[in-house]
């Protein structure tokens, strides 16, 4: 086995199944993840099964740039899947990790990313149980793509479904919105904003676990990733045949997020968070949910932003100027605008 030089790059042969593949796995994967079910590099992991229900999800990560202020594609790939399990009312336990690497990726970049995967997984209490590494020719992917699959145990009591939402319910978020998407946007080469917001990429499983005593009062939870708050709330109103009314003055948008949004002509409600929860709960549980969230560092910025209302299935917002606007679905790709 030959350790790779720090300045070296990933070659096509590192994915070819031969000696270089073996070396890459032995020097980069096994030392980080080889203690659990990966020990001995079996073709599949054997996991203990408990009674009850499992929660199972998968997600692909293709962020550019790979490293951005506040995180990189590695911790993002862990948080993304772990958070999907968590907001579905699950306790995340196991993770798969599939890497698609473009030939020429600097080894130090891969190491940075794998270190982040390891520390993020440890912080979330999940174990990387199985994985795969492929290398593709230059131009066939953009540096590094990661797919993670997370498996968790269903927490008792939660019955999360958009259809549970009813008029009078409160809408809460666990912290500042749109910070991840804005951080990534600012880090892009053709934009070049310095000292923009830091990504909020973080696990939310403790925020969900903290609500367990209130589970009966929780109607619905989501992490507002792609498409931002506007997207998840529009999906909610479509599914639940209710409306949502927000108050702009109550939205947790940092000065940095608002500044970048104004510079680039973006609506922060359309921009992703990667470490936040949007919660719809019964009104009598709202105060306690906020207290429970604020007792955790990742929930320090939790606040109520609006309520579920009867009537047309739309999301509206009372603006800081005192007007009323429609919060519609984002069109898709976020692009800097001049108009």
């Amino acid at each position: 086995m030959k350790a790779l030089e720090v300045e070296s790059r990933i070659l096509l042969a590192h994915g070819g199944g031969g000696r270089l593949t073996r070396d890459l796995i032995a020097t980069e994967i096994v030392p980080r993840f080889g203690d659990g079910p990966l020990r001995g590099l079996p073709d599949a992991a054997c996991l203990p099964v408990e009674a009850g229900e499992m929660v199972f999800t998968t997600d692909g990560f293709v962020v550019q740039p790979l490293c951005f202020p506040g995180g990189n594609i590695g911790d993002l790939a862990v948080h993304g899947s772990v958070n999907d399990v968590a907001v579905s009312g699950g306790c995340p336990l196991w993770l798969s990790l599939a890497l698609i690497i473009e030939e020429g990726l600097p080894l130090h970049t891969l190491r940075t990313v794998l270190n982040s995967v390891k520390s993020a997984a440890e912080a979330c209490g999940v174990t990387v149980a199985t994985g795969d590494t492929k290398v593709v020719e230059r131009g066939q992917c953009d540096g590094l793509f990661i797919t993670t699959t997370a498996l968790g145990r269903r927490l008792p009591g939660f019955r999360i479904a958009a259809a549970n939402a009813r008029a009078g319910d409160r809408v809460l978020v666990s912290g500042g919105l749109a910070e991840h998407g804005m951080a990534v946007m600012c880090a892009r080469k053709n934009i070049g904003i310095e000292q923009g917001p830091l990504s909020d990429s973080a696990p939310v499983h403790r925020l969900v676990a903290a609500l367990a005593p209130l589970a009966q009062s929780v109607a619905w939870m989501r992490d507002p990733t792609r498409g931002g708050l506007a997207s998840v709330l529009n999906e909610l109103v479509d599914a639940a045949s209710v409306g949502v009314s927000l108050r702009e003055a109550d939205l947790p948008l940092s000065a940095g997020v608002r500044a970048v949004a104004d510079m680039l002509g973006l609506d922060p409600l359309h921009v992703a968070s990667e470490g936040r929860v949007v919660l719809v709960c019964r009104p009598e549980a709202a105060d306690e949910a906020l207290q429970r969230w604020r007792a955790l560092p990742e929930g320090a910025g939790a606040c109520e932003i609006g309520r579920v209302v009867a009537g047309p299935t739309r999301v509206t917002m009372e603006t800081t100027a005192g007007g009323l606007r429609l919060v519609d679905m984002p069109r898709g790709e976020l692009l800097p605008r001049i108009c």
Binding site: A259, M263, C339
Partner: protein
């Protein structure tokens, strides 16, 4: 047309360029289209270019007017 934001010019970085800030974010801004930019000036920035200086006296006068309007029942 033409989104533009107020930014505070913090320093001059080059001939016709400076570092400007808004809400904790910084961006290098082109200064070639305005006269005599100085650190401490507030700029109106469009597509990375300062297109005008913001007159803070005029702005403050407006903000005082808004305070009066808000106080009038």
């Amino acid at each position: 047309m033409c989104l533009a934001v107020p930014m505070l010019l913090e320093s001059l970085t080059d001939k016709d360029a400076g570092m400007a800030a808004l809400g904790g974010s910084r961006h290098e801004v082109d200064l070639s289209l305005i006269d005599n930019p100085q650190p401490g000036d507030y700029l109106i920035v469009h597509a990375g270019f300062a297109i005008e200086k913001l007159d803070t006296e005029e702005a403050e006068a407006r903000l005082r007017l808004f305070d009066e309007l808000a106080a009038t029942p």
